[in-house]
C-alpha cells in the first residue's frame, strides 16, 4: 500500500462517491481546482521532521473516559422521530434496497 502523496490529479468523482456526494459536471471542475489548492497548502507540512514523534489525538493527551454500559434514559421514539423524513411503526423508511 502506497503512503506517498499523489503526483497525479485527484480523482474527484471517486472521492465524491466515497463521501456520498452527488457532484454535477459543472461543479466538479471548480471542486477539483479548490481541492488541488487546499492539498497544495496542506503539503507544506510534509517538510516537518516527525520520524521520532508520536501522534497526538487528544489535544491534552488525555484518555477518553469510559462509563458503565447501563441504560440511563429511555427516550420516547415518537419524540425523536418527529422530524424524520419518513417513518412507519418506529422504523425509518428508505427506498427499497432488496427487491
Amino acid at each position: 500500500m502506497s503512503q506517498e502523496t499523489p503526483e497525479t490529479p485527484i480523482d474527484v468523482a471517486h472521492l465524491a462517491g466515497l463521501a456520498r456526494l452527488a457532484l454535477d459536471n459543472d461543479a466538479s471542475a471548480q471542486v477539483a481546482a479548490d481541492l488541488q489548492s487546499i492539498m497544495a497548502m496542506i503539503d507544506a507540512m510534509r517538510a516537518v521532521d516527525t520520524d521520532t514523534v508520536l501522534p497526538l489525538s487528544h489535544p491534552l493527551d488525555a484518555v477518553v473516559r469510559l462509563r458503565s454500559d447501563v441504560v440511563t434514559e429511555s427516550p420516547d421514539p415518537q419524540h425523536f422521530q418527529r422530524h424524520a423524513p419518513a417513518t412507519a411503526d418506529q422504523y425509518y423508511l428508505v427506498p427499497r434496497v432488496v427487491e
Binding site: M1, S2, Q3, E4, T5, I10, V12, L15, A16, L18, A19, R20, L21, A22, L23, V31, D34, L35, S37, I38, M39, A40, M41, I42, D43, A44, M45, R46, A47, V48, T50, V53, L54, P55, L56, S57, H58, P59, L60, D61, A62, V64, R65, L66, R67, P75, H79, F80, Q81, R82, H83, A84, P85, A86, Y92, V94, P95, V97
Partner: protein, 486 residues
C-alpha cells in the same frame, strides 16, 4: 436610557429592582426586531420562550432568589441544540431541525436562570471565517456593514458588538470565537478543551471543538464561563476539575492579579503592518501595568494551518456522515435508490464550503493516504503542543495578535479558500494544543477594531481573565461602540 450593555450592569439593576427580567427581555426582543434587519445576526428570535423564562426568573427573585445570573438575557449560537426551538447550524441540511433535547450548555444557562432570546447566525456547520457560508445569509459587521464580522460565531459577535445582547455563546474549533471577537471589537474566550461540555453542540471537529463566551468585557466573560463550564458525564472528553476560582467568579467577579506576570511574545506571530500598531500600544500598556514582556519562539507555528485543515477536515467528514437524509435533516425528492437518497440529500443539503472540507477530509482518510496526512498531522500536533509547553516554562501567558487583519470586505476572500484559511493563522495553534485563549479589544486600525490574544496553560483561564480585567480597568477600547466617534 438604561444601561443594558453588560451582564453585570443588568444584574445590578435587577437586584435593585430598577427593572424586571420581563421588561429587560421585552426591551431586548424589541431592539433585535428593529435593528437586526441591518445585521442578520439572528436566525431565530424565540420571544415566547424567552418571556416565559424571564417571568419564571422574576417569580424566583420575588421568592428571595438572589443569584447574579437570574433573569439575564443572552443569545445562543445556533449550533447548540435547543429542545423545541429550531437548531440549524447555519445549514440548509438542518433548516427545519428542531432538536429533541437540550445541549448541556443550554441546560446550564437555563438552570442559572438566564434567558435565551434566540439563536445567532453562523457559518454553515461552523466552517468559515467570515459568516458568509451561512445558508441564512451573511452577517454584517456593526462597525462597517460592508464588512464581515468574522466567523464562524459571526452572528454572536455582531449581536454583542451592536448591543443587541450583552453576551452570547460561541464555539471555537480553529478560532471561531476569537477571530470574530477581534473583528467586532468584543471580548471572546475559548476555554481549555474539555472545560465546557460538547454534548448537544453540533460537531464540526470533535478533538478541537470548544464552546465559550462572547461578551463586552472580561468580567462578563468570567460570569458566562462560570455558568457554561462543568463536568458532564454525557461528554466523554469533559474534564473533571475542581478549580475553586471558577465558582467564585460567579459571585465575586474576577480576582485581582496578586503579582505581575511574565508575558511571552512569540516571534512567529508578529508581522510588520500598520494594523499591528494597536498591538504595539497594548504591549506598552501592559509594561506600564508592571508586567514584563519576553520574546519566545513557537517554532512549528507555520505548520499549524496545514495540520489544522487535515485534522479538522478529516473529523468533519466523519462527523457529517450522519447527515444522510434518513433520520433527520434534509431529504431529496423522489430518491431512486438508497445511494441516490444519500448522494442527492447531501449534495442539496450542504453548501459549497462544507463540501470543500468534506472532500479533503475524505481524501486524507482514504486508503493509502492516512499515514501521509492524518497520522503526520497528528505528529506535528504533538510538536505544536510541545512548543507551548516549552514556552510556558519561562512565561505565564502569551500575547499575540488575534487575527492577521481587521474586518475585511464581504466577498473579498470567498473565491480563494486558501487565503480565507489564513485568517486562522494565529488561532489554530492554540486549538490544536487545546489551550485556553482569549481575544480582547486593544485598539483600532482605520476605524476597525483590533483584538489581541492572550494564551494560557491548560485550565488556567483565570490568568487571561485577570489580565484582561486589569487591562480593561486601565483602557477603554472595550467600551467603544459602533457609530460613536473613536
Amino acid at each position: 436610557m438604561k444601561d443594558f450593555s453588560t451582564l453585570r450592569g443588568m444584574s445590578a439593576g435587577l437586584a435593585q429592582g430598577d427593572f424586571s427580567s420581563v421588561e429587560l427581555t421585552q426591551d431586548h426582543i424589541a431592539r433585535i426586531q428593529t435593528e437586526d434587519t441591518h445585521l442578520n445576526s439572528f436566525i431565530t428570535v424565540s420571544a415566547e420562550a424567552a418571556l416565559e423564562q424571564a417571568a419564571a426568573a422574576d417569580k424566583l427573585r420575588a421568592g428571595g432568589d438572589t443569584r447574579p445570573t437570574l433573569g439575564l438575557p443572552f443569545a445562543h449560537k445556533d449550533i447548540f441544540c435547543t429542545d423545541g426551538i429550531l437548531t440549524t447550524a447555519g445549514s440548509k441540511m438542518l433548516s427545519n431541525f428542531v432538536a429533541p433535547y437540550d445541549a448541556t450548555v443550554v441546560g446550564n444557562m437555563a438552570a442559572a436562570g438566564m434567558v435565551s432570546v434566540g439563536k445567532t447566525n453562523m457559518d454553515e456547520f461552523a466552517m468559515g471565517s467570515s459568516n458568509e457560508t451561512s445558508y441564512f445569509g451573511s452577517v454584517s459587521n456593526p462597525w462597517d456593514r460592508q464588512r464581515v464580522p468574522g466567523g464562524s460565531s459571526g452572528g454572536s459577535a455582531a449581536a454583542v458588538a451592536a448591543g443587541l445582547v450583552a453576551a452570547a455563546t460561541g464555539t471555537d474549533t480553529g478560532g471561531s470565537i476569537r477571530q470574530p471577537a477581534s473583528l467586532c471589537g468584543i471580548t471572546g474566550l475559548k476555554p481549555t478543551y474539555g472545560r465546557i461540555s460538547r454534548y448537544g453542540m453540533i460537531a464540526f471537529a470533535s478533538s478541537l471543538d470548544q464552546a465559550g463566551p462572547m461578551t463586552r468585557d472580561a468580567e462578563d466573560a468570567a460570569l458566562m464561563l462560570s455558568v457554561m463550564a462543568g463536568f458532564d458525564p454525557k461528554d466523554s472528553t469533559s474534564a473533571q476539575r475542581d478549580d475553586a476560582w471558577l465558582g467564585k467568579m460567579t459571585t465575586d467577579g474576577i480576582a485581582e492579579l496578586d503579582q505581575p506576570l511574565t508575558i511571552g511574545l512569540p516571534e512567529e506571530y508578529f508581522q510588520a503592518g500598520e494594523h499591528m500598531l494597536a498591538i504595539e500600544a497594548a504591549k506598552l500598556e501592559l509594561e506600564k501595568l508592571g508586567h514584563s514582556l519576553k520574546p519566545v519562539s513557537l517554532p512549528h507555528t507555520q505548520a499549524a494551518v496545514p495540520v489544522y485543515y487535515v485534522l479538522a477536515s478529516a473529523e468533519a467528514s466523519t462527523n457529517l456522515s450522519r447527515y444522510d437524509g434518513v433520520r433527520f435533516g434534509h431529504r431529496c425528492d423522489n430518491p431512486q435508490s438508497l445511494q441516490d437518497l444519500y448522494e442527492r440529500s447531501r449534495e442539496e443539503g450542504f453548501g459549497p464550503e462544507v463540501k470543500r472540507r468534506i472532500l479533503p477530509g475524505t481524501y486524507t482518510l482514504s486508503v493509502g493516504y492516512f499515514d501521509a496526512y492524518y497520522l503526520k498531522a497528528q505528529k506535528i500536533r504533538r510538536l505544536i503542543a510541545e512548543d507551548f509547553d516549552n514556552a510556558f516554562t519561562d512565561v505565564d501567558l502569551l500575547l499575540t495578535p488575534t487575527a492577521p487583519t481587521p474586518a475585511f470586505k464581504k466577498n473579498q476572500l470567498t473565491d480563494d479558500p486558501v487565503a480565507m484559511y489564513q485568517q486562522d493563522l494565529y488561532t489554530v495553534p492554540t486549538s490544536l494544543a487545546g489551550l485556553p485563549a482569549m481575544s480582547i479589544p486593544c485598539g483600532f486600525s482605520q476605524g476597525l477594531p483590533m483584538g489581541m490574544q492572550l494564551i494560557a496553560p491548560a485550565f488556567r483561564e483565570d490568568l487571561p481573565l485577570a489580565l484582561a480585567a486589569q487591562f480593561q480597568r486601565h483602557t477603554d477600547w472595550h467600551l467603544r461602540r459602533p457609530g460613536q466617534d473613536l
